[in-house]
Amino acid sequence: MPDPLNARLKTLMIDTLKLEDVTPDDIRDDEPLIGGGLSLDSIDALELVVKLEKEFGLKIGSSEESRSALASVDALSAYLRAHADPARLPSA
C-alpha cells in the first residue's frame, strides 16, 4: 500500500510546479527530484520549498537543507516526519 504522505507529496509537486503530462504514478519514491527525470531546477526547488513551508508549517533555511530534503520523495517524507507539524501530516 503506498505511503499516504508520499502520495500527497507527489500530488502537491505536480500541482505546485504545474508538471504537465506527469501523474503521481510517474514519480518513483526513490527518484532524485532535482536534476532527475522531473528536470526540476533551483527555482522549482524554491517554489516547492515555499509551498512545503506553508503546507506543513516548517522552515527550510538553506540550499543544503533543501537539497537534502528534496533528494527524493522518500527523503522528503522522512524530512517532513522529522521536522513538520505532526498535525499537518496525513495519518498512515
Binding site: L46, S63, E64
Partner: protein, 303 residues
C-alpha cells in the same frame, strides 16, 4: 556549507587595490577639484593601461553601442564615467547632499515612492543605478534589502550602508548556492528587495531578449520570484541629472496575476522586461559610457 558551496565561495572579486576608496576619500578632503579631477583622469589612464581584460570588454561593448570601432579615448571616457560614479558614491557616503528625482514618465513608480508596498526592484549596472536603492530608502524610509556581490573593497557600500542603515540592509553574495534562500528570507521579512538583473553570474533563470541589436541572455530570476511570492516588480535605472541630482527611470508596475497560470504570468513578464531593455537601450544609445559592466556583454543567442 556544503563542499559545492565551499568550492563556489570564491574570494571576493577586487578589481582595484583594497585601499583605493580610502585613498580617494582622503584626496577628496585635501585636494581642490581643479587638481583632483585631472589627477583622477591620470589614475584612470593608469587603470586603463593595467586592466587589459576590462579594456577589451569595454571596447567590445562600445563597438556594439557605437556601431563602429571605438577610439582609445572613448574607452578612456567609459572607464572615467565609471570612476566618476564611484567618486559620487564615495561623496554621498561621506555625507554630500544628493537627491533622487523621478523622470516624468514613471507614474506607477511615483505612486510606489509615495506609498511603498513590498516589491522586487530590479536594476542594471548603469550610470547612477547603484545609488537608487539608497536614495529610495533614504527618501521614503521604506525598508530595502539590497543584493550585493561582496567585493574586496566594499568600503563605499559599507559607508553608504552606515548612512542609510535605518532603511537599507544588504544580502551579501559570494556564494551563489544560497542566494535564492537568502532572497526567500529577505522577502519573507517584508520590505522591498533590490537586485541587479544584468549580469549572468548567480542567475538561476536566464532568457533571451532583444538588446543592442541582438537577442542576448539576461537573468530572468526576478520575475520567477515575483510569481512565487506574489510580489510586484519595478525595473529601474538611475542616471545623472542636474548637479547634485540623480534621475530615476522606472518601468510601469508589473505584478503576477494570481488567477493566471505561471506561463501566462511569465509571458507578460517577458514583455515587461523587454520594455525595460528598450528603455535602457535608448539611454545607452544617447550616453554609451553609462554601461558599467566591464565584463563580456550579455551573450548573443540564435533568434
Amino acid at each position: 556549507m556544503s563542499d559545492a558551496a565551499r568550492k563556489d565561495a570564491r574570494p571576493p572579486r577586487n578589481p582595484g587595490p583594497s585601499w583605493g576608496f580610502r585613498f580617494l576619500r582622503a584626496c577628496d578632503h585635501v585636494l581642490p577639484e581643479v587638481v583632483f579631477r585631472p589627477a583622477r583622469q591620470i589614475g584612470t589612464w593608469i587603470a586603463l593601461a593595467n586592466m587589459p581584460a576590462q579594456r577589451r570588454h569595454s571596447r567590445d561593448y562600445l563597438r556594439v553601442a557605437l556601431g563602429r570601432e571605438p577610439r582609445t579615448v572613448e574607452v578612456f571616457r567609459h572607464f572615467f564615467a565609471f570612476e566618476e560614479m564611484l567618486m559620487l558614491k564615495l561623496r554621498v557616503a561621506n555625507g554630500r547632499p544628493h537627491r533622487g528625482e523621478l523622470s516624468a514618465d514613471c507614474e506607477d513608480f511615483a505612486r510606489f515612492v509615495q506609498k511603498p508596498e513590498d516589491a522586487l526592484l530590479g536594476t542594471f549596472h548603469v550610470a547612477h543605478s547603484d545609488l537608487s536603492g539608497f536614495l529610495l530608502g533614504g527618501d521614503t524610509g521604506h525598508r530595502v534589502s539590497m543584493i550585493r556581490l561582496r567585493m574586496g573593497n566594499s568600503h563605499d557600500v559599507d559607508k553608504l550602508g552606515e548612512l542609510f542603515g535605518g532603511s537599507v540592509s544588504f544580502i551579501w553574495v559570494n556564494d551563489g548556492e544560497n542566494l535564492l534562500y537568502a532572497l526567500k528570507d529577505a522577502i519573507a521579512a517584508g520590505g522591498s528587495v533590490a537586485m541587479k538583473c544584468d549580469r549572468l553570474e548567480f542567475a538561476s533563470k536566464t532568457e533571451a531578449f532583444g538588446f543592442l541589436g541582438a537577442r542576448r541572455l539576461f537573468p530572468f530570476t526576478i520575475y520567477h520570484l515575483a510569481v512565487i511570492f506574489g510580489r510586484p516588480v519595478f525595473m529601474t535605472v538611475a542616471v545623472p541629472g542636474a548637479p547634485g541630482h540623480t534621475v530615476v527611470h522606472a518601468t510601469p508596475r508589473w505584478a503576477p496575476d494570481p488567477a493566471a497560470s505561471r506561463e501566462a504570468n511569465l509571458a507578460s513578464a517577458r514583455e515587461h522586461f523587454q520594455g525595460f531593455l528598450a528603455m535602457v537601450e535608448g539611454l545607452l544609445r544617447a550616453n554609451p559610457y553609462w554601461w558599467f559592466n566591464f565584463i563580456p556583454l550579455n551573450p548573443e543567442v540564435a533568434a
